[in-house]
Every structure is written in structure tokens, then in C-alpha cells.
């Protein structure tokens, strides 16, 4: 829980010593996460524990408050979706979609790239980015092997589209999950306010891709015929489970569309779907639950505890006041600063801790602007998600693809990626800026 939900009653005198210690623990943890010398989850758990101990000793934070700081809506939503995807991916449906789409365009490599770009964006809006690329990239290699073409343009396009598509919905990208949960924004609000700008961005990027890669990916008629000979039905190994998984997926997506109207949190919908699919699958849940990315879940928990300490000690409130004084309480300047600041920051460091820190800061601005806080939330979401395209380390999905590519003999170089990534980031954030300007200013 953050700000508006979490009541912070300070019945103690905040001292400079408390703020200094809390900031040191927070910035030290942040630095360690950025350095990537130690796994970010270890840093978050250790830093969170240090924050509680310092808080207990100095009297600004305790275990009970740290537990309250953990946003179980975010955690529940992530776990629920991981279970649903974990079961669904075993059915072979994602391979089916990839092969079917390649055959639909008669094995034409440029059109396959277009199809994969769109599929990645759509999957990424409905699943998380890392899951999407983990599903798409292996099949990209397989199809490119059949076409005897270099998979690199496909890999880059899938990275960019996963970050763009993920920005469109509440569940598409972890920053959006964090923002949606903290600000009480519904799935439909994300679709209504961020969907249009993403729909605008996608075709513009496709034109850019055509310009960059259109002439580079060519194959022979024989190789195209090889793709046409693939039988997508072969990938469906368990049709009965596929029907159940699709039924639950559709139910969950419908649930997301109406969770606001139903008065339920997104986590409730996701966990209901996970429970239902586990029940329908009927097998021992141990194997499925092992597939949950506990490392990511505990990273989030550690972060919530860390940022909670900063909130309780009043450092977030102080930073919000400084930011408002910098922007002189001007709505437009604040929104521009958050959009571009989030984009640049997210291009170089993990956007999850950044957004987790920014959320309570934005909450402190409640009541300052006549337009309300929502446009600021949209600025933060767009900046954090689209900024992830700036460099290879900008988003987890980028690193996952780079890792998989390198192990398969294709190295994505940091500078090569950045040359293209920064252009994509600048174009998409600029379009978002215009969109926000037209819609809210």
C-alpha cells in the first residue's frame, strides 16, 4: 500500500539523523542495484531488512509498518499471472500462433517481422514483457533458422514492441502494475488513456522498422516453402488443457476489463484465474508453483519495504515539496519533467525501483493540481515503460533477449542497441508528450 491507502501517523520527532540514515540505506541499495555486482533481489531484501532495523533502533519505522508497506495487490497480480501463463505455455498455443502467423503471410520475412512485432505488442499488453519475449524469441530463432536469415532485426523489434505494447495496459509492464495498484487506476482506465497513444506509436515504429530492416531480410523461395510446410497443429500437445487455459485466459481478461466496475482489485481477478486453472488442470500444483519467478516477487517485496522506510521518515514528502518548488507547482512543467525524467532514468537503470520510489512522491502532490493526479500518473507510466527501450539495460525484457541471443551465438552490442534504442525512445516519448498535451493540457 502506498500513500493514500497507507496512513502514516508520525507521532515522533523526525531528526536529521533519521533522514540521513534512511537515505543512506536507500541510496546504497539503489547504487548496488544499478551496479549489478550483487543480484538486485538480494540487495532489496538486505536493504529492506536494514531499513527496518535502523527504523526500530531510531524509532521511525518498524516491522508492522514494513509489512503494511508491501503492496500485496501488485504481488498477487504478478503471482496470479505467472501461474496462468506457466500453465498456458505448456499447451503449445504460443508456438501455434507464431507458426500460423508466419504461414499466413506465406513465409515472407518482412511480413513475418511485422506479424511478430504486432503479436509481441499484443501479448505484451496482456502478459508481462519478460514472459512475452521468452515465448516469442525461441520461435523467432526457429522461423529465422528455417528462412536462413539473421534473426537480429527480429530480436530488436521484439524488444521494442514488448516495451511499447506493455505500456498500454495495467498488467503489461511492472511499472504500470505498481502505478495502477497505488493510484487505484483500473485496467479500463489504462486502456482508455494509454491505449490510444500506443495505437498511434505502433504504426509509426513499423514504418521506422521498414526503413531500417526492410531490405536486410531477404530469403529464397525454397526457404519460404520450408516455412509453409511447418504444421502448427503439431505444437498443440494437450488440446484438453489448451481449452481450459484459453477459457480461463479469456475469463481473466474480461475480468480485468470489468474489475473497476465490479469493485475488485486486479490481483483478485488474476488469483481467481490462477486458482481456477490449477483446479481445472487438476495436477499436483508443485511443478506450476515452482515456475513462479520468486526472485522477482521478493525483489518487489524488498523494494516496498525500502521505499516504505523513506515514506515513514518523511524523505518522500520532502522530495515532493522540492520537486513542486522546482516546477513552481505548474502542472504542465511537472508532467513534462516526470515524463522525460522517467524516460531518461528508465533508459539507464531499472525502471521498477524508480517507479516504486516515484509513486509515493507523486502521491504527495495530491490536491495540488486542478487537473487531478491522473495525467501525472500517465506521464510516469509512459516515461518509465517507453524509456526502457533507450538502452540494453533499460528493461528486464531487453536483457532477457540479449542473454538468450548471446547463448545462441548472436551478440546484441550495447552501443549498437543504444543507437537504435535512443531513437525509438525519443520518437515514442515525443509522441506521448504531444498526446498528453492534446488530451490534458
Amino acid at each position: 500500500m502506498h500513500g493514500s491507502e497507507m496512513e502514516i501517523i508520525q507521532n515522533f520527532q523526525i531528526t536529521n539523523g533519521m533522514i540521513t540514515i534512511a537515505l543512506l540505506i536507500f541510496l546504497g541499495s539503489y547504487g548496488a542495484i544499478i551496479s549489478e555486482k550483487v543480484h538486485r533481489t538480494i540487495v532489496a531484501i538486505f536493504g529492506g531488512a536494514l531499513m527496518i532495523i535502523a527504523g526500530e533502533i531510531m524509532g521511525f519505522y518498524n516491522q508492522h509498518e514494513a509489512t503494511n508497506a508491501v503492496d500485496f495487490n501488485t504481488v498477487g497480480l504478478l503471482i496470479g499471472m505467472m501461474i496462468i501463463v506457466g500453465i498456458t505455455k505448456t499447451t503449445g498455443v504460443f508456438q501455434f500462433v507464431a507458426v500460423k502467423s508466419a504461414k499466413l503471410v506465406k513465409g515472407d520475412p518482412w511480413k513475418i517481422l511485422l506479424m511478430f512485432a504486432l503479436i509481441t505488442a499484443i501479448f505484451s499488453a496482456l502478459l508481462d514483457n519478460v514472459t512475452t519475449v521468452l515465448l516469442m524469441v525461441p520461435m523467432t530463432f526457429v522461423i529465422c533458422d528455417n528462412l536462413k536469415i539473421n534473426p537480429m532485426p527480429f530480436l530488436l523489434v521484439e524488444i521494442f514492441m514488448s516495451n511499447v505494447g506493455g505500456a498500454a495496459t495495467l498488467i503489461g509492464d511492472p511499472p504500470n502494475i505498481l502505478i495502477g495498484s497505488a493510484a487505484g487506476l483500473t485496467f479500463m482506465q489504462f486502456v482508455e488513456y494509454l491505449g490510444p497513444v500506443i495505437v498511434l506509436i505502433v504504426p509509426i515504429l513499423l514504418v521506422l522498422f521498414k526503413f531500417w530492416y526492410g531490405k536486410k531480410i531477404k530469403t529464397t523461395k525454397k526457404n519460404r516453402e520450408r516455412v509453409m510446410e511447418l504444421n502448427e497443429i503439431e505444437s498443440i500437445e494437450n488440446p484438453a488443457l489448451l481449452k481450459k487455459a484459453l477459457f480461463v485466459l479469456i475469463l481473466v481478461i474480461l475480468g480485468f476489463f470489468f474489475h473497476g466496475a465490479l469493485g475488485m482489485e486486479a490481483a483478485t481477478i488474476a488469483l481467481f484465474g490462477a486458482g481456477l486453472l490449477l483446479f481445472l488442470d487438476g495436477k499436483n500444483p508443485e511443478r506450476v508453483l515452482e515456475e513462479i519467478e520468486w526472485v522477482t516477487i521478493f525483489f518487489f517485496i524488498g523494494l516496498f519495504v525500502l521505499v516504505g522506510g523513506l515514506e515513514y521518515v518523511g524523505a518522500i514528502n520532502w522530495a515532493a515539496e522540492r520537486m513542486l518548488s522546482l516546477t513552481q507547482g505548474n502542472f504542465q512543467i511537472t508532467s513534462v519533467l516526470i515524463l522525460w525524467g522517467a524516460a531518461v532514468f528508465s533508459a539507464f537503470v531499472d525502471n521498477i525501483p524508480f517507479v516504486a520510489t516515484m509513486i509515493p512522491l507523486v502521491e504527495q502532490m495530491e490536491g495540488v493540481f486542478t487537473q487531478g493526479l491522473n495525467p501525472i500518473w500517465w506521464s510516469l507510466a509512459l516515461g518509465a515503460c517507453l524509456g526502457g527501450n533507450g538502452t540494453l539495460v533499460g528493461a528486464s525484457a531487453n536483457l532477457v533477449v540479449a542473454g538468450m541471443a548471446e547463448k545462441s551465438g548472436y551478440k546484441i552490442k550495447f552501443l549498437d542497441f543504444m543507437k537504435v534504442g535512443l531513437v525509438i525512445m525519443f520518437v515514442t516519448v515525443a509522441i506521448s508528450q504531444v498526446y498528453l498535451w492534446v488530451r490534458f493540457y
Binding site: 508456438q95 525461441p138 526457429v142 522461423i143 503439431e234
Partner: protein, 159 residues
């Protein structure tokens, strides 16, 4: 029942300076599925099994979801095998393995064969030098002698 009673006292070994094709050739020539990589002092520094070799030629993108391999292109196996051609053994050998000593109890061999799914455990002397190996066949022989006391097999005859 001790390791020394059931271990094989001959083991195929190879130097860690050798390459991927050289170990493939030696394993094929010796008709073995496992080989111990040793340093110049005959101390085991790694293990290579047929599985270790196969891992080098299955690309990362096919490992996590075997269904993808149904659509694998002809030539993929050759392509990734060729990429592994220049690998030195020290680049890919299994270094996380359990060694036994000859006076260890057989239960330790049985436990470790299950725990790490290790089909083959080098046996070393007090100086850390390789003196033999325990395979699953050795453990099976020990099991036989537990059940059939009137018809004991001599493990030395059945290695």
C-alpha cells in the same frame, strides 16, 4: 559395504587442454558415456558425459521449451555442433561434481547418485588422485549382493 568393494578401478580420463571434437572422438572410440577430466597431477577437475556434449549443441532457445524443436530447421544440429568445434574442455566440462574416497560407505554413493543426478562419481585417494569410479552399475551390483547372499557376484568380474 564400501566404495572400494564395488568401484571400477579403470576410468577413462582426458586432459582439460583437449577440445570438443577430441573428447567426442575419445568417448566414441572407448564406447563410454562418461569421462573424467584430470589435471597434470591426475586429480579430477571435471566430468564430461554424453549429456554434457549434447548440451553444447542444443541452442539456448530450444532448451526451455522442447516443443519449439518440432519446427527446427534442417541443418540446425550441424550449425550448433560446428559452433562448439573450438571449445576447450575447461569451457564446458561439469565442475560441480561429488568425489568419493575408497573407504566411503556405499550409501554415500547411492545418495549422491540420486541427489545430483550424477551417473558417475570419481573415487580419489588421500592425495586427491583418481583411483577409480562408481557408476550406477556398481551400485546395482551392490544391491544384487544384498538380496542374493547365496549367489554373490564378484563386482570385479562385472565391471
Amino acid at each position: 559395504m564400501f566404495v572400494k568393494d564395488y568401484m571400477c578401478d579403470w576410468v577413462n580420463t582426458i586432459s582439460q587442454k583437449k577440445t570438443f571434437p577430441e573428447v567426442v572422438k575419445q568417448m566414441v572410440d572407448k564406447k563410454t558415456n562418461s569421462i573424467v577430466v584430470v589435471d597434470e597431477n591426475k586429480k579430477p577437475v571435471g566430468l564430461i558425459s554424453s549429456r554434457t556434449l549434447i548440451k553444447q549443441v542444443v541452442p539456448e532457445y530450444l532448451r526451455k521449451n522442447p516443443t519449439n524443436s518440432m519446427f527446427g530447421a534442417e541443418g540446425t544440429f550441424d550449425k550448433y555442433s560446428s559452433k562448439a568445434k573450438k571449445l576447450k574442455l575447461k569451457d564446458f566440462m561439469d565442475t560441480d561434481f561429488h568425489c568419493l574416497s575408497d573407504d566411503d560407505a556405499m550409501i554415500e554413493a547411492a545418495v549422491y547418485s540420486l541427489k545430483s543426478n550424477q551417473r558417475f562419481m570419481p573415487v580419489i585417494n588421500g592425495d586427491g588422485e583418481l583411483i577409480g569410479a562408481i557408476t550406477r552399475t556398481c551400485i546395482k551390483n551392490a544391491l544384487h549382493n544384498v538380496f542374493f547372499k547365496d549367489n554373490q557376484i564378484n563386482p570385479k568380474d562385472n565391471r
